[in-house]
Amino acid sequence: MGLTLAEKILSNNIGREVRAGDFAVFRVNCCLLQDGTGPLAVRQFRKLGFTKVINPQTVVLFIDHAAPSPRAELSNDHILLREFARETGCVLSDVGDGVCHQVMSQYYTAPGNVLIGSDSHTVTGGALAAFATGMGSTDVAVGMGLGKTWLKVPQTIRVETKNTFKTGVYSKDLILHVIGALGADGATYMSLEFGGEAIDRMSMSERLVLSNMSVEAGAKVGLIASDATTQKYLEQYNRADKYREIKPDQDAKYSSTMEIDGAKLEPLVACPHTVDNVKPAREVVGIKVHQVVIGSCTNGRVEDLAIAASIMRGKMRHPDTRLIVVPASRRVFMQAVEAGYISTLLAAGALVMPPGCGSCCGVHGGILGDGEVCLATTNRNFLGRMGNPKSFVYLASPATAAATALKGVITDPREVL
């Protein structure tokens, strides 16, 4: 019996075959921390009695969730992280550099890695065939100090796709479909493994969306085999030497397989207040929207901004609908400036914020008022997620978001494409 992608990566890591259900201690190749969870990890690291980070050049500290800092308390947390980076030699990714998962994908995550991060969307790295998973501050502190972590090898749900998407349908719609079908806990403790025609033809930008939101179905990892697209992506960031081909075996044993016909998907929206409350966009059209957010580790890449710009070119946002655009990293921001997307969006009435996570997780930058509705390209719509428990968050693709910004009400993007 063959191995799933999860079993293969973990078996390679430990140098012997491990199977779903096995408990073992694995070598950690990369760690990420951010400013919301990093200060606690630093305090736990010290409490553990560690003085040295075992591989500091593979540990990245991100200041992205409150960047630039809106409050003195958070500025002090940032000082703690900067000092820790100086003391230990860990890499610092400071204010304006970008959202942790985007920057990790660009410069650090590589096929075959075991990556642990004190952020649940660390799963994003699965798109590069890395066993990338979110953990708490203490687990990551131990990973930094010992260079290892314990894991239970997960069972796998295979998401097998055929055909490609029709106009107006994107990987965001595919992952919302998967989450809606599985439920918010349908993949708890498990690996989601994406493959088939729709995935083979997908850009890395779109693949990252699938892995990123796997955690919204409870998954431990969201994995995609490495291929020519992975290789090209690494080359783009001068990391061609990091490429390794990792694929699941043909006869791998899956706990279940979900078959999806890409051609049958349509634009979807996750409605308040759970990500699995998924409906076709056409069923919720007309709901008044006060704010649209295009950005985040889920859909803040240059490809996403290109889609939004193409829909909004020469047009103006609805006067009652604020439009906030947040490029996912400095690199993305620069690419979007060079391509003219930023000026197109500014001319369409957008407000462009520095790369960061603040508006997605309710820290700062676009906190909603009582009763207000936001449609965002982000990943969570829990009650209170965007800073106010009396507000409502809908999640959708950048195309649906741009169409909604134009009309001022939830809009099926096929109406404007």
Partner: protein, 164 residues
């Protein structure tokens, strides 16, 4: 362990447990703990007594990896979180910070019921209703960490993971 039930529904997210709008209090845990679960039950933080139990439904603790969530539940004095099922990261974090987490059917428990929990025997008794509910013990790897008092104590004691 003995205490009263605080009842919650399905899908209690870490955003409900430790809201993002109190992000600036993450390095001031006693202050953050004053807001624990306030968007799910506004009475909870001010009225929870040491040893009380949180009883949730499905997928308790879904969402972010913030370890602050189980930490402030523990600071609030909660003896254990009992839920029909847990989100993965929350469960692991709870064990790492030494907060007992128990997976069992919570449908029979009502707010204010008096519970008695025997972690070793794997039994919860609803003293108010006179009902006894058994639960499955935790996986050994995690039980070892919990029994040591959390991951910091576990690593300090063994110098490494000692989970098998």
């Amino acid at each position: 362990m003995r205490g009263k039930v605080w009842k919650f529904g399905d899908d209690i997210s870490t955003d409900l447990i430790a809201p993002g709008r109190y992000y600036h209090l993450r390095s001031n845990l006693p202050e953050l703990a004053k807001h624990v679960l306030e968007d799910a039950d506004a009475d909870f933080a001010a009225n929870v007594r040491p040893g009380d139990f949180i009883c949730g439904g499905r997928n308790f603790g879904l969402g972010s990896s913030r370890e602050h969530a189980p930490v402030i539940i523990k600071i609030a004095g909660v003896g254990a979180v009992v839920a029909k099922s847990f989100a993965r990261i929350f469960y692991r974090n709870a064990v790492n910070v030494g907060l007992p987490v128990i997976e069992c059917d919570t449908a029979a428990f009502d707010r204010g019921d008096e519970l008695e929990v025997d972690l070793e025997k794997g039994v919860i008794t609803d003293v108010t209703k006179g009902a006894t509910i058994p639960f499955h013990p935790m996986e050994q790897a995690m039980r070892r960490i919990l029994e040591d008092g959390g991951l910091v104590e576990h690593i300090k004691k063994h110098g490494d993971f000692s989970i098998s």
